[in-house]
């Protein structure tokens, strides 16, 4: 006795998602069986739409329905600053802060020798072209993750862009707001001391 085929296939599909094993997938599949038909239909359509309706902005590489994306085509945004991020979702995270009004550039990854990914695999050449074409851009803020790969990519970009006379900065390292010193790791603490500010 096996699961009915539609259930088995749905379990298999759920297992393609990160962090979802067979037990959770089975639970989700049986939950889906009990869901409203409308909700399931919307879910199914939403999955198709992510593939059919989404594209990458030809200017910044952000995920968008319409090319160029809403940020690139908004003339009220500060045209002098570009934040460089690893992934399209990082754009949304930065936007949630609500205090940055400049532009973005999405690398679609970081340099990673282990995975054989060098700078030519990233969305860097279009960044260079963009900076050459658009003289309004004065500062590139590198917002790659605070990981060894993110740091290496930031270093590479800084060396590439600084000679062109651009201001190149990156996000500060330090204590998370609301965190205890007790739980900060040594590297974070070291960076927090190094980057201490006047009161």
């Amino acid at each position: 006795m096996q699961y009915p085929e539609p259930v088995a296939k749905l379990i298999d599909s759920y297992m393609h998602l990160p962090g979802i094993g067979e037990k959770t997938a089975t639970r989700l599949a049986f939950f889906t069986v009990d869901m409203d038909a409308d909700v399931v239909k919307n879910f199914s359509q939403a999955l198709l739409d992510t593939k059919d309706k989404l594209t990458f902005c030809s200017i910044c590489g952000n995920l968008t329905e319409h090319d160029p994306c809403a940020i690139c085509s908004d003339p009220t945004r500060d045209q002098s600053q570009v934040v460089v991020v690893e992934q399209a979702k990082d754009v949304m995270t930065m936007e949630k802060m609500k205090d940055y009004h400049g532009l973005y550039h999405v690398l679609h990854g970081v340099m990673s020798p282990i995975e054989g990914r060098g700078p030519e695999e990233l969305n860097i050449s279009s960044l260079i072209q963009r900076l050459q074409k658009n003289e309004a851009i004065k500062e590139v803020i590198i917002a790659t993750n605070a990981t060894p790969e993110g740091d290496a990519t930031a270093m590479y970009l800084a060396r590439l862009l600084k000679p062109a006379g651009l201001r190149v900065t990156r996000l500060a390292r330090g204590l998370s707001v609301g965190s205890d010193i007790e739980y900060a790791d040594e590297m974070t603490l070291y960076k927090a001391v190094e980057g201490r500010t006047e009161m």
Copy 2:
């Protein structure tokens, strides 16, 4: 700046699943954007199929593609025993044991005064009819969960079925195989002592 609509809708869909909040849903949605188009298409279709292709067996209430289900229409199964379970997924769990070859009956829930669910909301009347029609059935094994609601439902069924001269049993309570006595809760230990067997 908001998520592109297809992403926002997919996040919303993922959030309908149990145990998945906004953060996880967002992570899953962006993961989906990077998935192979074929895998996403299959996922989408699998969701639709659970609604379009699945039905409940008119005899036992199990989930099935074809009515009656594979178990009810299998003449080689032991027609004298019926295991009563709460949910269709419990049928699959019992079948994994590979040592029971009788029939099933799915209640589609348990009695729960708190949620206002009495015996008439459950798939009980069809069980009674089935037992009246089919004289081959000699034993009803109640396999509801070992929860207060499951126990109450088991008790109700036993009182209902025993007068008809049927053997009514339920699954033993005791230590999980491989577990330490140290970690057993008091009620489980009490049931294990009460149900102790000769060596």
